[in-house]
């Protein structure tokens, strides 16, 4: 699905990531962990093309991202659902419209998708808050809405950046459960988190691999969590 080949990245100062090689196989479930500031968000951005690697290359659906023009990149984004660390909503639109945004911008017939949207809203437990604006939501509600928006296009890959960043344990496990369910439906999932207990909780539900960023490298973490 998504493959990083010997990728290095720097924001201009020293190198933040180097020699990163990883392959997200279809239907796989990955965690990405590491200390704050290690480059988890950066790595995810490389995966959905928001950043271009300083060295090496990123393949998405077997195509080199560097070779994609702007329109192809837009089409690629529709196949990769992203839960951003800071959610990224349009604050002037109600939650329901924000969740439906990927459908709207890709020109889908909203009448046909109405049922799909309603189901998804209740799946993330936001039916009652459909008309609220994003700033009026609680942190957990925002993250559930972000997850709903990430999956509404039924993408092949879901990248989630700290999806449980500011929610309590109950909500964390609920969100994790949603992601595991998506994985069971065949989606490739990558979750960036520094919450090790979340990773432990997942291990009982799904076969997850854990990637850890340390010293600018990406390593496959052992079972020593």
């Amino acid at each position: 699905m998504i493959e990083l080949e010997d990728v290095g990245y720097s924001y201009g100062g020293g190198e933040l990531l180097s020699n990163v090689s990883v392959k997200l196989a279809p239907g796989s479930f990955h965690f990405l962990t590491g200390p704050s500031g290690a480059g988890k968000t950066t790595l995810l951005k490389l995966c959905y093309g928001a950043l271009t690697p300083s060295s090496g290359r990123v393949l998405a659906f077997d195509a080199d991202m560097r070779g994609l023009d702007r329109d192809q990149m837009a089409l690629l984004r529709r196949r990769i659902g992203v839960v951003h660390q800071d959610c990224r909503f349009l604050d002037h639109l109600p939650v329901a419209d924000n969740i439906a945004l990927p459908l709207v911008v890709s020109g889908r017939d909203m009448l046909r998708e109405a049922e799909n949207l309603r189901e998804l809203m209740s799946w993330v437990g936001l039916s009652a808050r459909a008309d609220a604006r994003p700033p009026e939501l609680s942190g957990g509600e925002r993250q559930r809405a972000a997850l709903a928006r990430a999956v509404i296009m039924s993408p092949d890959v879901v990248l989630a950046d700290e999806p449980t960043g500011n929610v309590d344990w109950d909500m964390s496990t609920r969100l994790l459960h949603l992601l595991v369910e998506l994985n069971r439906m065949g989606k490739t999932v990558l979750i960036a988190t520094h919450d090790l207990s979340l990773i432990r909780a997942a291990k009982s539900q799904v076969q997850a691999r854990v990637l850890r960023i340390s010293n600018r490298r990406l390593q496959l973490a052992g079972a020593d969590l």
Binding site: L51, T52, R70, A74, R77, H84, H92, P102, V105
Partner: protein, 299 residues
């Protein structure tokens, strides 16, 4: 851009307009700028149309007519006039030659001497109005013949003062057209600034739209539609006001001469209809270019 793309700009979907938050103040500024520019364009247009008409009229009317002035002692005047008229009748290229009557001459002089002037008391020369036909006559040959047979005759074919007048009218017309171009350019500049401001103010929105898979065309069209519509509405209002101003100008009249001819005449009234259309086109192009530039900077 293919036709489908162009169509999608204008029809679009209501959803696409909602994804960009409404912008009250810039919207009003754009409306105002478009209106003001359209208002000015109406006058620049009227100026160039009127001066074009004037140049044409002067060039054609004056070119077809000439005057012969016969200054002679009172007792020889009618004889010389008769000889001159005979010569003119024999000259190829002269369609008509007619000696002005006393009354006509008095009318010509009345603006300077006042009404009720008795010409017989003054040594006023006799005027002959000469109208040439399509082919025209040989002015130099006519002059030589008149000099030989009618010593008091002077041929004035008006070229002396026709040329500068026609030139003045033509350059007035040119200035009008340049003004229209400048107005269009200024409008493009203003719309570009406004569009850039709107794009900058909505940088976050644009980024989110890119992240969820919106193509550039989709994002740009949300802005382009807005600015085109605003420019169109503003330009319609400005054009209506400008045309109303033209309607209030006094009608063309002989007494007023050049200045009263400044309004529009006949089919010319259709030209202002183009102004809102052109204004909208300018806004479309300017916003589209601005959006393209801005979007290229994003990933």
């Amino acid at each position: 851009m293919n036709r489908g793309t162009v169509r999608s700009y204008f029809i679009g979907d209501a959803q696409a307009d909602r994804v960009v938050p409404p912008s009250g103040f810039t919207a009003q500024l754009t409306l105002f700028a478009a209106g003001a520019m359209a208002f000015l364009a109406v006058f620049a247009l009227a100026l160039s149309l009127a001066s074009g008409r004037l140049a044409h009229r002067w060039a054609s009317e004056l070119a077809r007519s000439a005057t012969i002035r016969i200054s002679a002692p009172q007792d020889q005047l009618s004889d010389q006039t008769a000889v001159a008229l005979k010569i003119l009748r024999q000259t190829p290229g002269v369609a008509r030659a007619r000696a002005l009557s006393q009354k006509e001459q008095a009318d010509l002089l009345s603006p300077w001497f006042g009404p009720g002037l008795d010409l017989t008391t003054l040594p006023v020369p006799q005027l002959i109005e000469v109208t040439e036909d399509e082919t025209g006559y040989d002015a130099q040959g006519l002059r030589l013949r008149l000099a030989a047979e009618v010593p008091g005759a002077v041929l004035d074919d008006h070229t002396r003062w026709r040329k500068p007048l026609v030139e003045a009218a033509s350059s007035l017309r040119r200035l009008g057209l340049i003004s229209i171009l400048l107005i269009g350019g200024a409008m493009a500049a203003m719309i570009t600034l406004a569009a850039n401001a709107a794009l900058a103010a909505n940088a976050q929105v644009i980024e989110v739209l890119r992240l969820v898979g919106a193509r550039d065309v989709y994002i740009a069209s949300a802005f382009v539609r807005r600015f085109t519509l605003r420019a169109l509405i503003g330009a319609v209002a400005g054009t209506v006001l400008g045309v109303a101003g033209l309607l209030l100008l006094p009608a063309a009249s002989d007494e007023g001469g050049f200045l009263t001819g400044l309004g529009l005449q006949g089919l010319d009234w259709l030209w202002p209809l183009l102004i809102p259309v052109l204004g909208a086109l300018v806004a479309f192009g300017a916003t589209w270019a601005a959006a393209r530039r801005r979007l290229k900077e994003l990933t």
